[in-house]
């Protein structure tokens, strides 16, 4: 395994770790708004690391660039969709949870 391959593999593991954390956040966070944070940030970062890791192991510069484009497109889609979901939720009067875990209870 060459050095580049090893770095690529490490980036893939880091990406997978962020995806795991994002999924745990999705399950543990209390409401729709907080869950959007888990998706829009942690999973995007995980995808970024995976795209970068794969780009390092790609056969050609063009396919490496294509992987980065996949990430950019996913970023745009994710930002736009979170915006739409959050706006709709507010418009429907879904109250965000104001506090969680400060004294062990949820308001």
């Amino acid at each position: 395994m060459t050095g580049i391959d090893a770095i690529g593999a490490a980036l893939l593991w880091i990406g997978a770790g962020f995806f795991l954390a994002g999924t745990i956040g999705l399950l543990r966070f209390p409401d729709v708004y907080a869950r959007l944070h888990a998706l829009a940030k942690v999973d995007n970062l995980g995808l970024g690391f995976i795209a970068l890791g794969l780009a390092l192991r790609a056969d050609s510069l063009a396919s490496a660039l294509k992987l980065l484009l996949v990430w950019l497109l996913a970023l745009f889609a994710s930002a736009t969709i979170s915006y739409l979901i959050a706006r709709r939720a507010l418009a429907r009067g879904i109250e965000p949870v104001a506090e969680m875990g400060a004294d062990g209870d949820q308001r």
Binding site: F18, A86, V97
Partner: protein, 163 residues
């Protein structure tokens, strides 16, 4: 004209990446590039906004660094044994003119530490903040300044904050 040639070069580069460098697909590629330039000229005429190259660099550095910060921060909150969040919905007074700049700012803030954009008001942006102590006004203003620099937009002068 120069702007259109620049766009054609950009779309040709995109095609090159999508086709993974395969030379035999350039017939379709050429048609796609021409259609893409025509569509972009129609949807976003070259005169309206110009990207500044140094602004782009600053935006990318800011964006990548803040993305990592945001991802790590939310991941830590998610993994903490005692889940502790203090969310709130905040109104952020916009100083960017209406248009592309505001949209880009809303998208950028959705990907940055602790904030998700949740709708525009007349002159403000509603933000859902994951933990009110972690998100400070200065970070949001920094994002606004970087977006303005990228698109070459003027920021409205800050309001005098009195009593």
């Amino acid at each position: 004209m120069l702007a259109l040639i620049g766009r054609a070069a950009l779309f040709a580069g995109l095609w090159w990446a999508l086709a993974e460098g395969a030379a035999r697909d350039w017939g379709v590629g050429l048609v796609s590039v021409v259609l893409a330039v025509a569509t972009s000229a129609w949807l976003w005429p070259p005169t309206t906004t110009r990207l500044s190259p140094s602004g782009l660099l600053r935006f990318l550095v800011f964006f990548l660094w803040q993305s990592v910060r945001g991802g790590v921060l939310v991941a830590r909150l998610a993994l903490h044994p005692r889940l502790r969040l203090r969310p709130e919905v905040r109104r952020f007074r916009l100083r960017l003119p209406p248009g592309a700049g505001r949209v880009l700012l809303a998208d950028t803030l959705s990907l940055l530490p602790g904030t998700v954009s949740a709708g525009f008001g007349e002159d403000d942006l509603r933000l859902h903040v994951l933990d009110r102590d972690l998100v400070v006004e200065a970070d949001l203003r920094a994002a606004e300044a970087v977006v303005a620099g990228l698109l070459g937009l003027e920021l409205e002068r800050p309001e005098v904050t009195g009593a």
